[in-house]
């Protein structure tokens, strides 16, 4: 009876056996390393591209920090690199300064912390941790990377054109971005920006669709939702947010493209240039802000949630304790994901919106503090009385908790519409989001690299260099962003090229110098990481199969897993992923694939009940197969 019903099923599973065979026949260089459909190779491609972008984004930020911190310095030694972008006096060209700020934001938010973070770790960890041979569609996954690559090439090219890259800020508000005559960067640079972002959105959607499908449909036997590691939950929510919000950015960009190139008036109205009126009538620039921030705010959580998931995993592993409040962690992430869609207008308090509407968005925004506080509480209580191992990954995770808290608190200030009127578009905002979203997510990403490096490359990264990297970066980040709060409260506006004309601000010259010096220090520290990363790929200490004594499934694979991940059967999952330091257990961790029947010494009464189900597994599954 059962076998008859199963026949039609076999056809749908064909691609699975196919994936299984992949280990045996080896492709050539192109199919193995370039156009690979293996999720692990694609993850590494995302990681390395993301790191290249992070380096570029970081260098751009140091360039504009030079202008802000040392406005009188002679930068003509940069002539070989910047060429015409330096004024004859050896200073950064004001328009190029705006381009630097814009590209720093775009690169960091989208290319590093969206594609570099989600692309790397969702791709790498989802199949490995849920027990799947690969993503639901390896081909779509490959496309996702190559769309990202093409988008990267276009964005990178825009840095080198004579009129410079887009310069209207990473939020590309019209009319500045819509009118090519507004500034140099609004010409070809802006066009390339829009094309690159359209392709980027396609890449992101391809990726997200794959992640969601894989998490829901490809889990191994026994991997119920309540047994998913928190990383997977985080990637899952991130992908859902991406699928729902990126199309909205696409709509905004589409209308902007029509305004720029076809003469429509979605965002343009009553504009005079050189005393002459433009023909565009009836558009609304505020409309763009609504559409942009409907993506823009969820984007914050697209960037942050994966980092929070990664740190949940690392903190539990290295505290040798179960994560405190697993369900609360999942619930708070879900709550954050939902709230992220109903708070976008808090970026627009000063656009002349109805104050009553403003107070609603204030309320909704402040509610986000609740799930965020739950998460911080749970991190701290997980650490509490744990046998903490201070690995480099662990240090970066704790650093994330610190930034998330420091930056989160200023979010409560900014979320209030009344206070935001004073602080809007000052360095206070810059300090806030660089701590809570920029640095926190960056630390999550770096922590993830340190933690999963052994699985990615089969070797360990150097711990001592990791410590140096951590302390320099951690102190550097605080030295960069903490003083910015004071500069911001004083009213110093962001995106300004120069402040020396304002007597009020001249008192902040030394503070700005400190910030710039710290920025240079922080960037330099990243080269330690870069060296460590590249050196360890080739010369690092060979990693054991499970170097961190972790419980999740990826550590049950061979040291260098092939395409298909497990040479034999995929392990079955019997328990949740946080059985660390379980009382009575032989070791301080019990991996997810160990059945309760093998651990009678540590089982709780209700877990002994589950042993019966483990033994009956086969017959239960045959029943299920009928559908």
């Amino acid at each position: 009876m059962a076998t008859i019903d199963i026949h039609p099923q076999t056809s749908t599973h064909h691609h699975d056996d196919h994936a299984h065979e992949h280990e045996h026949h080896h492709g050539n260089f192109w199919t193995n390393y370039v156009f690979s459909e293996d999720h692990k190779v694609i993850a590494k491609q995302f990681l390395i591209t993301g790191m290249a972008w992070a380096l570029i984004g970081g260098i751009l930020s140091v360039l504009f920090r030079l202008q802000l911190g040392f406005p009188d310095a002679d930068l003509s030694w940069l002539k070989p690199i910047l060429g015409g972008w330096l004024t004859p006096e050896g200073k950064i060209d004001p328009e190029f300064y705006l381009a630097l700020v814009t590209m720093h934001g775009t690169i960091m938010v989208f290319f590093v912390l969206t594609a570099g973070l989600s692309g790397t770790f969702s791709n790498f960890l989802i199949p490995l941790q849920i027990g799947a041979r690969d993503m639901a569609s390896g081909f779509m996954n490959m496309l996702s990377y190559w769309f990202f690559f093409v988008s990267s090439v276009i964005m990178f090219t825009s840095l080198f054109i004579s009129t410079g890259p887009a310069s209207g800020g990473w939020v590309i508000y019209p009319p500045l971005s819509a009118l090519p005559q507004a500034m140099q960067g609004s010409g070809l640079g802006m066009t390339l920006w829009l094309v690159a972002m359209a392709i980027f959105i396609a890449s992101s959607l391809l990726g997200s669709i794959n992640y969601i499908t894989t998490v829901i449909n490809m889990r191994t036997q026994g991997m119920s939702f309540t047994r998913l590691p928190l990383t997977i939950w985080a990637f899952f929510f991130t992908a859902i947010i991406g699928v729902l919000s990126f199309p909205v950015l696409f709509a905004a960009a589409l209308l902007l493209i029509f305004d720029r190139s076809f003469g429509t008036s979605f965002y343009l109205s009553d504009i005079y240039i050189g005393g002459e009126a433009l023909p565009n009538q009836g558009g609304s620039p505020i409309l763009f802000q609504h559409l942009f921030w409907f993506l823009g705010h969820p984007e914050v959580y697209i960037v942050l949630l994966p980092a929070l998931g990664i740190t949940s995993e690392i903190i539990a592993t290295n505290s040798r304790k179960p994560i405190f409040g697993y369900k609360a962690m999942v619930g708070s992430m879900l709550f954050i994901a939902i709230l992220s869609f109903v708070v976008w207008a808090h970026h627009m308090f000063v656009t002349g919106m109805n104050p009553f509407l403003g107070s609603i968005f204030t309320l909704l925004t402040l509610i986000i503090a609740v799930p965020s506080a739950v998460k911080i509480f749970n991190y701290v209580t997980t650490l509490w009385k744990g046998n903490i191992r201070f690995t480099a990954a662990m240090l970066f995770s704790i650093g994330l908790v610190s930034f998330f808290l420091t930056g989160g608190i200023t979010g409560i200030f900014l979320g209030n519409s009344a206070i935001d009127i004073q602080l809007h578009d000052t360095y206070f905002v810059v300090a806030h989001f660089h701590l809570v979203m920029g640095s926190a997510s960056f630390f999550g990403m770096v922590a993830g690299v340190y933690h999963w490096f052994p699985k990615m490359f089969g070797r360990m990264m150097d711990e001592r260099l990791g410590y140096i990297h951590f302390w320099l970066t951690f102190l550097g980040v605080y030295l960069v962003f903490f003083p910015m709060h004071y500069i911001g409260i004083a009213g110093f506006p962001r995106r300004y090229y120069s402040w020396t004309n304002f007597e009020t601000f001249s008192g902040f010259a030394d503070l700005n110098m400190l910030v710039s010096a710290a920025a240079i220090l922080t960037l330099s520290a990243q080269f330690i990481f870069l060296f460590n990363f590249i050196y360890s790929i080739f010369r690092g200490k060979a990693a054991s199969a499970n170097p961190w004594n972790s419980t999740t499934l990826e550590w049950t694979t061979p040291r260098n897993p092939g395409h298909g991940n497990w040479p034999g059967e995929i392990p079955t999952v019997y328990r949740w992923p946080y059985d660390y330091s379980k009382p009575g257990a032989k070791e301080d961790f019990i991996p997810q694939h160990i059945p309760y029947s093998e651990t009678p010494e540590s089982n709780l009464p209700h877990e002994n009940e589950l042993i019966k189900l483990e033994l009956n597994n086969g017959s239960i599954d045959v029943e299920k197969n009928k559908h």
Partner: protein, 197 residues
């Protein structure tokens, strides 16, 4: 994942998949979710913009009513094709897929004529945003219909190669879902444009 690598069926090793659905089908649903968000963004932008005033009222082209009927009929033929394939009546399935494709093409042509009528009514793409929105909404929808036509052709070829039959329905099922979805989407846009203009 499964152990059906060789001829012997080790059924016991089959993983339990509580929410198991064919992954490609599931991915299609998520894709449709993102298309919904795209049009939700455009139509809500439309509402927000209309509320600000300076909005030129337009008459919906007559042709759009005909195209609505055409797309609804094509949904029926598409469903018919799916049922035929399910009953292994491949000849009928091929005919019905072809009719659906022709109707879909007719829909695109009718939309194009609708644009012609708009131009005759002096509603241009470049002008008051009300008209621009009308072109964008119908145009982006038509692009999706064209993508579905490509999908239909792929399924049609697959049917000729006997890759679509009662035991292999995933592709035609996905195509049917997508087609109904786009039909429903047009119905939504049509009613929306009638209510807010």
């Amino acid at each position: 994942m499964d152990n059906l690598t060789t001829g012997d069926f080790k059924i016991v090793e089959e993983p339990a998949k509580p929410l198991a659905m064919e992954p490609r089908k599931f991915g299609m649903w998520i894709f449709m979710g993102s298309v919904v968000m795209l049009f939700a963004a455009l139509t809500s932008a439309y509402i927000v913009r209309e509320a600000e005033g300076n909005w030129v009222y337009f008459d919906m082209p007559q042709v759009f009513t005909i195209s609505t009927v055409v797309i609804l009929v094509s949904s029926i033929t598409m469903q018919w094709a799916y049922w035929s394939a399910k009953k292994d009546n491949l000849q009928n399935a091929k005919v019905m897929i072809s009719i659906t494709a022709v109707l879909g093409l007719a829909f695109v042509v009718l939309q194009w004529q609708g644009w012609g009528q708009l131009v005759a009514n002096k509603i241009y793409f470049v002008g008051n945003p009300s008209g621009s929105f009308l072109y964008v909404l119908t145009g982006v929808h038509a692009l999706h219909i064209i993508s579905a036509l490509v999908f239909l052709l792929i399924v049609l070829v697959a049917t000729y190669r006997y890759k679509v039959h009662s035991k292999s329905l995933v592709s035609i099922e996905m195509c049917t879902t997508y087609w109904h979805f786009l039909g429903g989407l047009w119905l939504y846009l049509f009613v929306f444009l009638l209510l807010y203009r």
